[in-house]
Amino acid sequence: MRRAFNGQPLLWLLSPAALLLAWALAANSGAFPVQLLVPPQAVYHSFTELLVSGELREHLVASLSRLGLGFGIGAVAGMAFGTAMALSRNVEAFCGPLFHCVRQIPSIALIPMFILFFGVDDVFKVLIVTKAAFFPVALAACEGVRAIPRAYFEVASLYRLPLRSLLTEVALPAAAPTLLTGLRIGLSRAWMVLVATELLAGDIGLGQLIEMSRQMLRIDLVMVGVLLIGLIGFCLEGGFHLLEKRLLRWKPL
């Protein structure tokens, strides 16, 4: 590929800046009602207002703690289940078909069912997030463990490695690339589903901020929420990419 443009970081900023400019011009031109197309400075103003009043922090803490709890439970359970399924033929024979059936059901479709079961409180949201994180992680763990070459274990047994170092120094690094991809997918799905559940039901959280502002026709607040959701998704994914690179830096390219 041509590398002529590599040294021009300004070009990277061009399209977002152009969009921002177009937005500002369109909003200030008066062609659209201000209630519908809010100018960027108004959105920024509402953002600082929310930030100063501390309301934004409450929403953020609520959303992120739900995400952390649900994703944590789902990821740990998924890794355990996936590893068990990869190692034991019995576990796969007994649980595999059910696992692959339930995997086909989108998390979003389960929302009405979970609401009837668990109400609209935090339990329901955390459980949906857990479900969304569990399946991709379990699948990745299963595939990652299964793909470890048998030769590695043979070498390990030649060296008489104890079980602990067999797990931490041979099995885990070999399965890590697949596992990390699964975790990243699980995290982004969990975030998407969490926002969906908060939009549908609840009292606090970023999704709820958007939904309440929509009902009050405060598009500026809706946009603050949407931008923040995007930003958090971007940071989660970007952070995970960095983590992957750092953890897998031993890998030959």
């Binding site: 590929m1 041509r2 002529a4 443009f5 021009q8 070009l11 990277w12 900023l13 061009l14 399209s15 977002p16 969009l19 519908l36 019995n90 024979a93 007994f94 649980c95 595999g96 078909p97 059910l98 059936c101 086909q104 059901i105 989108p106 979003i108 479709a109 389960l110 929302i111 009405p112 069912m113 609401i115 009837l116 079961f117 975030w191 998407m192 926002v195 969906a196 939009l199 549908l200 999704g207 958007i210 939904e211 502002s213 929509r214 026709l217 598009i219 809706v222 946009m223 929420g225 949407v226 931008l227 959701i229 995007g230 930003l231 998704g233 971007f234 994914e237």
Partner: protein, 257 residues
């Protein structure tokens, strides 16, 4: 012996789903509060007869499927175009890439309130949401496909003196096709989920999501279960259909394995 063993292995797979169904049924027979949350198998069957008898199930499923296909058509074709553009022209990638990658991060379902305020909550908005959901994975895979064209093929194309359109049709498209199909498979999954998802949020119109939300308001667990099963089965069937189709269409390709 081996067939007997295989039979046994297949039966073992049935054990856990049957156990789950049995536990569900047992829970539904406990008392009234359990029967409210766990609809018994008999009531699910009755609900299925009721829904299919009145035609509501078919109408809802058809509406959801139709929207998925329409959104997929728009989203996938635009995504292919953008992806091809970004892969073939470094300038376009530098110009549009950052915007594309930052907009991609916003969960589609989070955009629903905003889009509903701008464009109303009618069918058009829903198709737009589905198209957006299909657009991003398609564009990503198109970039991958078109940028991985073997340089030797390009050289052969140049040697034959192919024009730009011929070059696209005979050289670039066939090498990008596997990635495009892969993208289409992803786009289909996203389109289906977001089609059902936007029905959950926008209560006007018909669809499996609307059916389930109405059932939730009336605490009809049997209908919700039917809805969940339908969504899962239809999603699985579409996925299977598309992957079979892509295998068939790509059968000319020598496999590397």
């Amino acid at each position: 012996m081996s067939t007997f063993k295989k039979c046994c292995a297949g039966l073992r797979g049935l054990a856990s789903p049957l156990l789950l169904v049995a536990a569900w049924e047992a829970a539904s027979r406990q008392d009234a509060s359990h029967a409210y949350a766990f609809a018994s198998l008999a009531s699910i069957g009755a609900g299925l007869r009721e829904l299919s008898g009145s035609g509501e199930l078919w109408l809802s499923a058809l509406a959801s499927l139709q929207r998925t296909c329409l959104g997929l058509l728009y989203g996938a074709s635009l995504g292919t175009l953008l992806g091809a553009g970004m892969a073939l022209s470094p300038l376009a990638a530098r110009l549009v890439g950052p915007l594309f990658h930052s907009l991609r991060q916003v969960p589609i379902l989070g955009l629903i309130p905003l889009l509903a305020l701008w464009f109303g909550s009618g069918e058009g908005t829903k198709v737009l949401i589905v198209a957006l959901a299909a657009f991003y994975p398609m564009a990503l895979n198109a970039v991958e496909g078109f940028s991985q064209v073997d340089p030797r093929y390009r050289e052969v194309g140049r040697l034959f003196g192919l024009g730009p359109w011929q070059h696209c049709w005979h050289v670039l498209l066939p090498s990008a096709l596997p990635s495009l199909f892969n993208g289409l498979l992803h786009a289909l999954a996203f389109a289906w989920v977001s089609s059902v998802g936007c029905e959950l949020f926008l209560s006007t119109g018909v669809g499996l999501g609307n059916m389930m939300m109405n059932a939730e308001a009336g605490a009809r667990m049997d209908i919700i279960v039917i809805g969940v099963l339908c969504i899962g089965l239809l999603g699985y069937a579409m996925n299977l259909l598309f992957s079979r189709l892509s295998q068939r269409l790509l059968r000319w390709r020598p496999l590397r394995r």
